[in-house]
Symmetry: C2
Subunit: 337 residues, 2 copies
């Protein structure tokens, strides 16, 4: 096993291919951000992102309804477009389908995909269809556009910048627990629905990304797919900085709070390390804080949540006052589990 | 089973999603050609294509060497860019990898991918990496560019246009037979190598596509991935025409001829219906025939092969003189096998 992929880890595999990337004409950013950035139509830049979803790894055919899966497959890619400040342009769907898959499954999957495509005005432009011997295989590629110079990279954060969340995290991880270990802790029907919806029907923050890009507010941005701490770590790595996350400032929704209480768990755990929230995590110059919060409230009717700040070190620490430490359990790494 | 995908077929699945495609700003062509066509950098158009390759369906981990697989995964997508007359721009690789996959396999796969990437100047720009419980899963998305108005669609053929092949077909199918049923018919080592290379290391005709686009020579174009007759059928369908393929004009390479003789088979079978040749199939106004053949000879040192012409009907017929009929065995349809 010493030569197997467990040793290398997901990010080792990415590094293996990253070393191999070459520059080229009209290419501003290749591997290493939420999207690749290329020269776009006059005055704009092209964004490209791709994601693979496998039955048995990312979803269970029985657990996730096909309609939710169709929504989520596109939504998770749109979240990468949002994380660069981009406007969705079009989507490509490659599918591997078992021959005995009921037609109704495929039709419901299509419905969910189209609901998301229509909500975010991102039409389906092409793809590939093949048979699969081993479960449903999905790969979505999504294109976006952003005005020249308005794209937001992971690498732009400065020491002293504030770290903001566009929405509280952790509900998706709680929803996944309910799916995987039914019935889960005693909860109201409403709380259950809220947590399951956060996991099954995540809403990418496209409008927020566009606002931050247009107003030149965010210095760096990423979407939370691997967990707040791990994704903040990506911003730190690309910006050559560290961060402090103030535990008492982490927003916890009422449903997540009740889920944690009923489970006898710390709600910070899913909020800091749960994945698949698909909300935006970004950094701001402190002088822009008031303007950003006001604009988000006025134009989108949402609250932005300050959760910490960037430091000169290289580590992401959690704590408060004069007690800061590394969080011991990090987000999910494929191959290491 | 009546409600399963076998009933619907591969093209039925494509239709299901095609009906759902919506138009959008800067989108010239969505589903229905070798690539989607969008507005590109100033003066140009953007081409996008995507392909999924599954272990057990498209390749066997033992049968295809990882190095060849890396080459072929990219090459087959570059062939779609070539079929629109485009210049490769960049590639995105999504991979699902079993945890026990040897690291050496991945490294060799990378080598082959990079050989192809370097040969066709198409750098790797991004992707996705995930664990897979059920074999290696690959999805390649490739971008290309073409000067505005120079892209070549399947739909542009006119009645009376001549049908040309950029290279003889059938060797790839013969190579696959050697792989799947070793040792196969008695053949020289050289013939074996030629046929296996045609299958394992196909060379997309990017330079020919660029030439035909630049000189405005081809009225319609496609790459041969499903078999000559089936892919010519796609040109006919999109152009609202039929075609006649002149059996005696189909080019048969010496290695394929000897393979067929040693197998007791008609070499026309793989030449007309074999898949994965990844050469170009295109139509020309008869007045441009001499100019095209001369340019291909002079600039690329290759021969173009006339194989038939387009008719007013809707069928693709094979024959000669006054005897024309539909070929009874067509190319491969996923789900129908």
């Amino acid at each position: 096993m010493a030569d197997g992929l467990e040793e290398l880890g997901e990010f080792g595999v990415i590094r293996l291919f990253r070393e191999a990337a070459a520059p080229g004409e009209g290419i501003l950013k290749g591997i290493g951000d939420d999207c690749a950035v290329l020269e776009g139509p006059p005055g704009s830049r092209l964004l490209v992102t791709t994601d693979m979803l496998l039955e048995g790894v990312h979803f269970l055919r029985e657990g996730t309804g096909p309609r939710d899966l169709g929504w989520k497959a596109l939504a998770s890619n749109l979240s990468d477009i949002a994380a660069m400040g981009g406007l969705p342009w079009g989507a490509f769907l490659a599918v591997g389908l078992p021959g005995d898959l009921p037609l109704s499954w495929l039709e419901e999957f299509r419905e969910g995909l189209l609901e998301c495509s229509s909500r975010y005005e991102c039409p389906l432009l092409g793809g590939d269809t093949t048979s699969s011997e081993k479960g449903v295989v999905l790969c979505l590629t999504v294109l976006g556009r952003v005005p020249e110079g308005r794209e937001i990279y992971r690498s732009g954060a400065k020491e002293g910048d504030l770290v903001f969340l566009g929405r509280p995290t952790g509900e998706s991880a709680a929803g996944l627990t309910l799916l995987l270990h039914p019935p889960g802790p005693p909860l109201s029907r409403e709380d259950r629905q809220v947590l399951l919806a956060a996991h099954n029907r995540p809403e990418p923050q496209v409008e927020l990304g566009l606002l931050l890009s247009r107003e030149g507010l965010a210095t760096a941005m990423i979407d939370v797919s691997d967990g707040l701490l791990q994704d903040l770590g990506h911003i730190c790595e690309e910006s050559g900085l560290g961060a402090r996350v103030e535990a008492r400032k982490i927003p916890i929704t009422p449903s997540l709070l009740r889920f944690a209480a009923a489970s006898g768990k710390d709600p910070l755990e899913p909020a800091l390390t749960g994945g698949e929230d698909y909300c935006l995590l970004f950094t701001l110059d402190p002088k822009d804080q008031a303007r950003a919060r006001k604009a988000a409230r006025r134009e989108l009717g949402i609250e932005l949540h300050p959760v910490g700040y960037l430091t000169g070190g290289r580590k992401v620490l959690v704590g408060e006052g004069d007690r800061w430490e590394e969080w011991s359990r990090r987000g999910y790494d494929h191959f290491r589990d």
